[in-house]
Symmetry: C2
Subunit: 177 residues, 2 copies
DNA sequence: TGCTGTCTATGCGCGACGCATATAATTTCG
DNA sequence: CGAAATTATATGCGTCGCGCATAGACAGCA
């Protein structure tokens, strides 16, 4: 009977992800991927709708409409892309930046609260094991953006996701986590 | 700079939950909470729509319509409740039971694959820390059902969620994970 | 120049959601 | 006991997001 580990891990990741997504959604204009879109635009200003679409795992019309709504809400601005005149360069407005701060802060607080039961040694052990898991978990660049879509890039020095991708094939994600 | 632990844990739980939910959805007639409803009805046969609604965090009409669709698909059967003639006792049909097997198996495989990078000692350490986290994480019975909604009850002896709730206040969840 | 692939945008139908409400059964309390 | 408040289920209805199919603009290559 060693399926218990998988069950416990499954329950933990589901419960924590639920909580984080709920918190994040509460600080975005709508539930769903809006908060993730905002957070992604912080680490990748100028990102394209197509890149966003792949990171969020949605259809293209879905991504266009999501950006429409975020633009109407005044959180995201479409700018012409200089390199490719077909593409749109997405940027956070000031309001979008503030919304992003709220999203990242609430996410951090929620996870930190869950980790409060650990003493410093347990915390460090858990971090190392989580990093090992995460390093092997990420499949490619699109997946990396998806996994790290709510991360605070500035707080993640030597992000294991980025490091893993770089060491694996030298692909060039500018910053994925 | 000790926010990194929260970032790594956040990325891990988000990525793994995404993967598990996607796998589960692929073995249910629709995305969303359908797979969770099916799995919940395995550990709690006779469950009520209202209980389901709370565990899945949806509106009541939403739960009624979800059960409608699952009934049309032949996976769930509404039976009259003997204790309370207002209520409906929900049960899995044979097809629903098979669907549940597929959901739980795919979930198990996905998590097991992620854990393959661990040697036995790391695996055991991670399990203990995850259990500690989970024990402190669960808030009440409804939350427990939500967190454990995709668990395989039969594989989770001494489920830390159930144990935590029982030891905390002697509430009587018959089996929550 | 012309052809193919890529990026964005939109018309359209479908389906899920949730509010408000209706009905039935249970519980509470005078 | 019997009326009121509570709880469980069901449904009409409007709204909204989604994704398919398509159209238009541009890039890159022959």
């Amino acid at each position: 009977m060693e399926k218990k580990t998988e069950n416990v891990v499954g329950a933990l990741v589901l419960g924590l992800a639920d909580a984080v997504l709920d918190e994040a959604g509460n600080h975005a204009p709508e539930k769903g991927q809006a908060a993730a879109a905002i957070a992604l635009l912080r680490h990748e200003p100028g990102m394209t709708i197509e890149q966003l679409r792949r990171a969020l795992g949605m259809s293209h019309p879905g991504a266009v409409r999501l950006v429409d709504r975020l633009a109407v809400d005044g959180l995201v601005a479409r700018r012409p892309s200089v390199a490719d005149k077909r593409a749109v360069a997405l940027h956070l407005t000031e309001a979008g930046d503030e919304s992003c701060n709220a999203i990242l802060a609430s996410r951090y607080r929620r996870i930190a609260r869950a980790l409060e039961v650990f003493d410093p040694h347990e915390r460090e052990t858990f971090r190392l094991l989580a990093e090992k898991l995460l390093t092997a978990f990420v499949e490619d660049v699109d997946h990396a953006y998806s996994v790290c879509r709510l991360c605070d890039t500035s707080a993640c020095v030597d992000c294991p996701v980025t490091c893993s991708l770089l060491s694996r094939q030298g692909g060039a994600p500018t910053a994925a986590g």
